[in-house]
């Protein structure tokens, strides 16, 4: 055992070195470090305290701590002293103090009791961090959020106005064109009737586009109604509802493995699957059209690996890679297959929006002539084991 220090070494040396060392740390701290006695008289004041509050150590030491507490918060001090006397710490207490020039400073303060050799509380140390910049950033963020909420509300109002005030005159145009055709059939020549019919069709088309746009804007803002959803039921229900559509196209849905039960907005996810199934059956020239729906724990996206991926695969005409980005844009349509009614080109845009609202991603993989696979993730909620 040689724990006993040589008596020749004076204890003062052993003490003063760590003290100077600690003093240097305290002085170079970015946070204000202040000590005070139980009467609230300041006993030490570091350089950061001078920077934050504007008083030098000479000016501050010996003064009451109340000089940096704003008038409306003076009561805080009594509360702090009471807690210190009870031996409690005050941790990360956010408050406001006032600097020498009257400037208000936002602080996060930690105050701990100081005890003497016998353990008696004789004062407190106070570490204060200037969080004025952080507070300002928070307030800016809050202001942005409010502004965003307001502009969303405006968009919502706009969409609603569009639904009535833009569509009403459009319906008028359609109706009058129809009445002209009805009432003046014998008076007008063939070309006149043809043009009126065209006018009537165009107004109808515009109303359909407005309806789609409205629906799209609502998809982006309306809250999702999350509920536990068995995707096997979802796909089976779509199969029943689309029975005629699928039969006409000699298409069938195959689910090789049971799909999971997930928490999602059932109505919207049903719509996403329905749109993908419709596309798979539509853009397909095979004698037997096969739509495979499945779930993969891992899949590769061009940008990297993904987990918990759903897919809808067809053996249809495929999509040229140069259109893979474009197909998700609203009102973009691929060449319509023969005998199919022209849509407005919103189906995939709706699917993308629905997937993104659930926090997921969608991408496409396709070889022209060989078929297309749409992949998407729904990671917002946990996906438990397959049902």
């Amino acid at each position: 055992m040689d724990t006993i220090a040589p008596v020749t070494e004076p204890p003062i040396t052993r003490l003063s070195q760590p003290t100077a060392y600690l003093a240097a740390i305290v002085d170079s701290s970015d946070d204000a470090i202040i000590s005070k006695n139980l009467n609230g008289i300041i006993t030490s004041w570091n350089r950061a305290a001078q920077r934050i509050f504007g008083y030098t150590a000479d000016e501050a030491v010996g003064q009451s701590i109340l000089m940096i507490i704003p008038p409306e918060r003076q009561a805080e001090e009594a509360d702090i002293i009471a807690r210190l006397k009870a031996g409690q710490r005050v941790d990360h207490f956010e408050t406001v103090r006032v600097a020498k020039d009257g400037r208000r400073v936002n602080l996060s303060v930690t105050i701990s009791p100081i005890r003497d050799d016998r353990g008696v509380i004789i004062g407190a140390s106070k570490v204060a961090r200037d969080i004025t910049a952080q507070k300002e950033a928070e307030e800016r963020l809050l202001a942005y959020t409010r502004e965003l909420e307001r502009s969303n509300q405006e968009l919502d109002d706009f969409a609603y106005i569009a639904s009535h005030d833009l569509k009403e005159p459009l319906r008028g145009l359609h109706n009058h064109a129809t009445f002209l055709i009805e009432d003046y059939q014998g008076v007008m020549d063939e070309d006149g009737v043809r043009r009126l019919k065209r006018l009537s069709e165009l107004t109808q088309r515009m109303e359909v586009l407005i309806n789609d746009l409205l629906y799209f804007s609502r998809l982006g803002r309306a809250d999702l109604a999350f509920q536990e959803t068995d995707l096997n039921t979802v796909v089976a229900d779509i199969g029943h509802l689309m029975e005629g559509y699928l039969r006409e196209r000699n298409a069938r849905i195959e689910v090789p493995k049971p799909l999971p039960v997930i928490t999602c907005d059932r109505t919207r996810i049903t719509e996403a699957f329905r749109n993908l199934i419709t596309n798979a059956a539509k853009y397909n020239d095979k004698a037997e059209r096969v739509i495979e729906i499945g779930f993969l724990e891992h899949a590769q996206r061009p940008e990297g690996p993904e987990q918990n991926v759903f897919y809808v695969r067809d053996n249809g005409v495929g999509i040229d890679p140069k259109f893979h980005k474009d197909i998700f844009r609203i009102f973009r349509r691929l060449k319509q297959p023969a005998g199919e009614e022209a849509g407005t080109g919103v189906g995939l845009t709706f699917v993308k929006k629905i997937v993104e609202r659930h926090g997921g991603r969608i991408w496409v993989d396709s070889v022209p002539g060989d078929g297309t696979t749409f992949y998407f993730t729904l990671p917002e909620r946990s996906i438990p084991d397959a049902a």
Partner: protein, 155 residues
């Protein structure tokens, strides 16, 4: 045994502030070979006057009310609420016929007691089809309560 569906109110009360849409509805009825009398109210206030009897007159007892939502003055939502809150009127089928396809309108009007909600078909042919189906359902298929139904009592 078939229920007796013969004498039932066949009048349609059309509440619509847009003259073009009124004309389209009347023409569509004619094109569908429907001879039902159509009473046209241009506002919610007018519709309530018809249903309650104007100046102490006989109240209109329509077989259905086709109600537009967006109208100046008393709008379709308020008119619906008044009809469905009135014990003498609430039995009348009210069909919302509007350009709005907004989910909130669908939800709130059914909550308020609307009997059906139809978004105005985009095309004139669609309107003809919608009116035929509405007539087929409300005038030929659905049974309505007899109380309050003045025409039925006289049979």
């Amino acid at each position: 045994m078939q229920p007796d569906l013969s004498p039932r109110p066949q009048t349609i009360l059309l509440v619509e502030d847009n003259p073009d849409d009124h004309e389209a509805t009347v023409r569509a009825l004619r094109r569908a070979n429907m001879s039902n009398p159509v009473v046209w109210s241009q506002s919610g206030e007018e519709a309530l006057e018809q249903l309650r009897g104007k100046d102490g007159g006989e109240p209109l007892k329509p077989g259905m009310v086709l109600l537009d939502l967006n109208m100046s003055g008393l709008d379709g939502r308020q008119t619906l609420q008044i009809i469905k809150d009135d014990p003498a009127l609430k039995w009348i089928p009210v069909i919302i016929l509007t350009t709005s396809g907004d989910e909130r309108d669908v939800d709130s009007t059914y909550q308020a007691g609307a009997n059906s909600y139809i978004q105005k078909p985009v095309s004139f042919d669609g309107l003809i089809d919608a009116l035929k189906r509405l007539k087929g359902y409300w005038f030929e298929l659905a049974l309505l309560p007899r109380n309050g139904d003045g025409d039925a009592k006289t049979s």
